[in-house]
Symmetry: C2
Subunit: 555 residues, 2 copies
Amino acid sequence: MRTDIEIARAARKRPIQEIGAQLGIPAGDLLPYGHDKAKVSQEFIRNLAGRPEGRLILVTAISPTPAGEGKTTTTVGLGDALRRIGKRAVICLREPSLGPNFGMKGGAAGGGMAQVVPMEDINLHFTGDFHAVTAAHNLLAALIDNHIHWGNALGIDTRRVVWRRVMDMNDRALRDMVAGLGGAANGYPRQTGFDITVASEVMAILCLATDLADLERRLGDIVVAWRHDRTPVFARELKAEGAMAVLLRDAMLPNLVQTLENTPAFVHGGPFANIAHGCNSVIATSTALKLADYVVTEAGFGADLGAEKFFDIKCRLAGLTPAAAVIVATVRALKMNGGVAKADLAQEDLAALRRGCVNLGRHIENVRAFGVPVVVAINHFATDTAAEIAAVRAYAAEQGAEAVVCRHWAEGGAGAEDLARRVVELAACPGAFAPIYPDGMGLFAKMEVIAGRIYRASEVTADRAIHDRLAAWEAAGYGHLPVCMAKTPYSFSADPALRGAPSGHVLPVREVRLAAGAGFVVAICGEIMTMPGLPRVPNAQIIGLDPEGRVEGLS
Amino acid sequence: MRTDIEIARAARKRPIQEIGAQLGIPAGDLLPYGHDKAKVSQEFIRNLAGRPEGRLILVTAISPTPAGEGKTTTTVGLGDALRRIGKRAVICLREPSLGPNFGMKGGAAGGGMAQVVPMEDINLHFTGDFHAVTAAHNLLAALIDNHIHWGNALGIDTRRVVWRRVMDMNDRALRDMVAGLGGAANGYPRQTGFDITVASEVMAILCLATDLADLERRLGDIVVAWRHDRTPVFARELKAEGAMAVLLRDAMLPNLVQTLENTPAFVHGGPFANIAHGCNSVIATSTALKLADYVVTEAGFGADLGAEKFFDIKCRLAGLTPAAAVIVATVRALKMNGGVAKADLAQEDLAALRRGCVNLGRHIENVRAFGVPVVVAINHFATDTAAEIAAVRAYAAEQGAEAVVCRHWAEGGAGAEDLARRVVELAACPGAFAPIYPDGMGLFAKMEVIAGRIYRASEVTADRAIHDRLAAWEAAGYGHLPVCMAKTPYSFSADPALRGAPSGHVLPVREVRLAAGAGFVVAICGEIMTMPGLPRVPNAQIIGLDPEGRVEGLS
């Protein structure tokens, strides 16, 4: 069997100008990066204003397990299939983070016959967007310490600098440090640390900004520190936002690539859906909607995290209306949700499958709570039995949803045509989309709505200090912001071991953070890591160049 | 008067494919980055083997002063002028570092009518080469700490990890830190720090490697730490070199851009000439030599640092033979060398000029010591008087060298045609180039040769520990390496205040470092900073986007 990278390398790619021409983008408005990647010009995007928009399809999933679900793969397969049945379709994916490739995570360009290419480039430096985010983020960090070094005219409380630094690398040694050592020439010693670049608020801002002016305004709104009197210090007080916007100017332009079947794909933006909102950029999605009748996009992790944030943060802030949602499930992952160990997944186990289906049922119910019609995609594995497939279909039918078997991993778009037809039907009669809480609700009440209606928790707990902080932010004019929940993706609860569809649990909000530039308040529930580490045997040891200079070992 | 960025923006750029076609590079072998930048493919470069080579012209300078000399500007002007007088010429420059743009340094794309474009891109992310170096460097750092975290099977002495991290930013707070804090999950606490990316040994390796296989071998040769028994730990023992080479694959390809007059320019590689060797990459220079009759390149700082390393490190290791050297001088900088304060430079002062000319004389003598013919370029400023110009010309003539007035800053290539004609004459009768010391000489003796013959020091001092270390490296098989002197650029001595042409001073070697992958031994003389800081009022505060999304404030 061929590996993903072998399949990708054998792709019959068309020149990126031809892919752009499919969408009516003139070659002069494509800034090429090599022959198979391009950015779309500011001017072209500006001139799209007023055009009618296509239908937005979200691909989300059941709660993830180590068995794998295939959300990106299904997004790619569905896009290819829509084109095969004669629809004008574009795919919108998130950009993979470079660092985790060298740990144990695979790439994020799909798999099998449903991939975007060039996969090596997309998984590594791509068009440099993440490097630009890293540079802009760290420039602001350097300006903060430099300001303090030269006399701290803004009166920053050096114990309350909340802006850390970032690197696109899994490097646990950088999580917690004392920097500024070595004497007066090196500034003031201060405890700080690094997060991974995708966790940066700058990344979230890039993904939510509608144009360069909005980007610069949001960068200026970032709260970098607090004064002794507890008033915020903004990035604009350091005059940082102009230079940061300069560093992000090209990164703001959506990246165009293609699938193995030459379907256009915008791969742009990429925050993690556990600590950030985890969606393709607003500028890419909005551009795609003006260029196609169907735009297929994904959101991170399971629907409790990714879809909820897609609806409550991205669609709310950008004024988008999703027409339908696909919930990806696999027989294997449902069996794991029903208690089967990973080693035993190849065996038929209808009882466990049935037990695990409650996880799917909960996600169906949740997505419908936003007024969005749902179809289930059963991402087919070779070990799935006919009886297992029938059981999932029957379960979905009981919930009033259709479950369609998809074989895009093995067959490409041809394997997802049934799904595509069902999506077209659903999108023809869209529901009445609405976020699950109104802007005007209090910040803690918003967390309670998500915890109650989506996670089915009986209670949300938080220290007095957190309530005080939220009240202070509401008083400072941040009460209208949506909340971005940071929680384990492996359970509806904050306990990753609680699979299936738990209810009545307690959701502990451990910490809250104000992302005033991005425009949301982060609620951290339980333990969430903002800088990953490398495993004992990292992938870096097997990644290398072959004698022809081609990349080996990425998947 | 128009600013550099205004002039650059008004440039009549040709599509990069046309610039490539001038050199016989087919469009398919150019990997475009936008419409005005491209990388040259591996295959094209590989197929150049065996072609005859053009003549290599080095542009170097007198000792730098705050008055400015214009080495890059003269390199660009000379390249344009050679083409105007009918020669096939290519320019080879170093890539600017992104970080210092936000401090107080101007960009490094030339100035006035002698620039390479697009200057904003070249000065900022360009084609991502520096970001790739940063990622490769920091991946190795993460692998080291990860190895220690998981049990340290290689027996690394955690007090003797010599591999730091890098960032392309002026950030003094990162110079010295204790990382790995916060408990067992974050690894072992260890004192470490960040250098600026251009100071990375990975950057030097990228600049010296002849192809991808050589790159990977050199990356594996990096010494990252020492064991308790004082044996070295190599990057290849961490199996890091393959993944690092993957990250650097595209960065190894030379970048093609153009001057304001559409002369082809390879802008590639960029270490600082104070702590590294500071030259355009070997792969870019070698490629250019196969594509043109004249290749004009530059080396960092004054000839005591840049030219010495160009000859003794780059030309030695890459087997290059320079045909001629241009020493750039300005009347203003010579007056500063003669003791005039910066505020008084606009006034004619023939006596001070004459006193400062000894600096020029010393550099002429030094370059000739390598067997390379010399011409002096007087980079003309509006305040220069006819008497001053005549005095410099007369002084040069006394040294047996011609000094040619150049007005490329104001007039472009047309202002440097006299210089171009003189360079063609000199290069027709090349001298007998040879490095100043043989490979077989001891490491400390090599330092003494450079200090004695180039710096005119009477003595080189070093602690016993340094002598022991050099002896150990010689015993370990590193004795044949050239030495890379890290010294202030402002004086022939290690004391930046000693201008002119001092002699009889003592050169203190404070520290030595083994760059086993790059293939040299660094000798640090006096205080050298490997991570700059930002000034009180950093340029970042004035850099921004105009309403059309164009970059403002770069120079």
